[in-house]
Subunit: 254 residues, 2 copies
């Protein structure tokens, strides 16, 4: 049995809490937060504590707060013997108190408030200062996910950066397409099967192999037509820059 | 019963042919192509004809060749009474001979050679010069797909442009992430669940609502860290431009 305290009440805290309480080998002692409204979401599931004053003893403290607040919140655990981990892709391990047992428990997924998720498929990236703590995190993570990875702080920063490209920037591509459709009386639904197939492809092909389109073919006529069709200057600029980058990727081929 | 001739032997021709021959209400008379090797892929399924000299009479002629060749190939059908359609997102209807019955049969999907696809879910965008021909195309398309749309030439150009954003450019985002992972000894597999979830989200939320990340939050510290981590100048430039565009999208909010 591993006992856990969760510090924070956002999306990550919510989804982790759900995954933990579904496992009988895990006991969630407390969810601790400063915002009464978001804390209320946890009330029927676990003990909740408003404010960081009365934190009970647990084997693992999971700090799931915004990046800027991680260091401050971790200092409130100075008298604790348990393992203290944060859940951020972007914050190095050494931000946590160096005199304590520390680690990182980073679930790499996009969490939507209130939308259930099969946590078994969420990759969890682990790091710990000491080997036995890494083992503890590994056994904890393996209870809720079948995709557990060891990733150090330097790698994790790059992984988070990669996640910005595949999630945030791809989603912005969808947004631009959505805008074009809206402006031209087209249903965005027409594009959804293409979007799904685009990502299904990466299961079997590398993105390098999957690339198609006018930039890949160096079809300058179509590219110019497309740039002329765009009405917003920054969309034109994005089209040009990404097409150049794709052409550069396959530059040696033609 | 609708009889069909397919002119062209590429991915689109292959997937359309598969979809058509699976329907008993459709008879594929011929597949016609100039390249003996790609024509050979069709040999066990339908009659194949090398070269465009002996084209038999059909109700519908489907020109599935490269954009540049559509006009030339369509001129070879000058003596035909059937309906002549092309399958391109980017070529207007009027490129086909104006004295003949013409239309467009544009399946909006990314087709991979040899990879089977459930055509029922592929959106098919239709256009025709005359109303009865549009009805013929509609009944034909409805036999193989449950997603049939009427889209005129001006709209179709913008739809094709939107497809470049959601497919080509998103895939390039995946490629950049793949490169970052490779350079840092990280398995690209860690990112695959995130990629799948990113696209699953668009089923229930608009891309505008789905957007997350440092640019959305206007977290300039993280953005600068990310730009510093990137080693290629054009990836830095892409990061900056897309982050600016996301910030602009939500500019009025903060």
């Amino acid at each position: 049995m591993v006992s856990i305290s969760i510090l924070g009440t956002g999306n990550v805290a919510e989804h982790l809490c759900e995954a933990f309480i579904s496992q009988k080998e895990i006991k969630v002692n407390q969810v601790i937060g400063r915002n009464p409204d978001s804390l209320a979401n946890f009330k029927n599931k676990v003990d909740t504590v408003l404010g960081f004053k009365s934190i009970s003893d647990s084997d693992v403290y999971i700090i799931a707060v915004s990046d800027d607040a991680i260091s401050t919140v971790s200092q409130l655990l100075q008298n604790k013997k348990g393992l203290i981990v944060h859940t951020s892709g972007n914050v190095p391990l050494h931000v946590l108190p160096t005199n304590l047992r520390t680690g990182v428990f980073y679930p790499l997924q996009t969490f939507t408030k209130g939308q259930p998720l099969n946590f078994k498929r969420v990759p969890v990236c682990l790091e710990a200062k000491r080997e036995p703590d890494l083992e503890l995190l590994h056994s904890l993570a393996s209870l809720i996910s079948s995709r557990v990875y060891f990733v150090d702080s330097e790698q994790r920063k790059r992984l988070h950066l990669s996640a910005v490209f595949v999630n945030n920037f791809s989603n912005h591509m969808f947004h631009i397409a959505h805008e074009i459709c809206k402006d031209n009386n087209l249903s965005f639904d027409i594009l959804k099967p293409l979007i799904l197939e685009t990502t299904k492809k990466i299961e079997t092909l590398s993105p390098y192999e999957s690339q198609t389109g006018p930039a890949r073919r160096k079809d300058t006529g179509t590219m110019q037509t497309h740039i002329d069709l765009l009405t917003q200057e920054n969309y034109k600029e994005i089209y040009r820059l990404l097409s150049r980058s794709i052409q550069k990727t396959y530059g040696k081929e033609l």
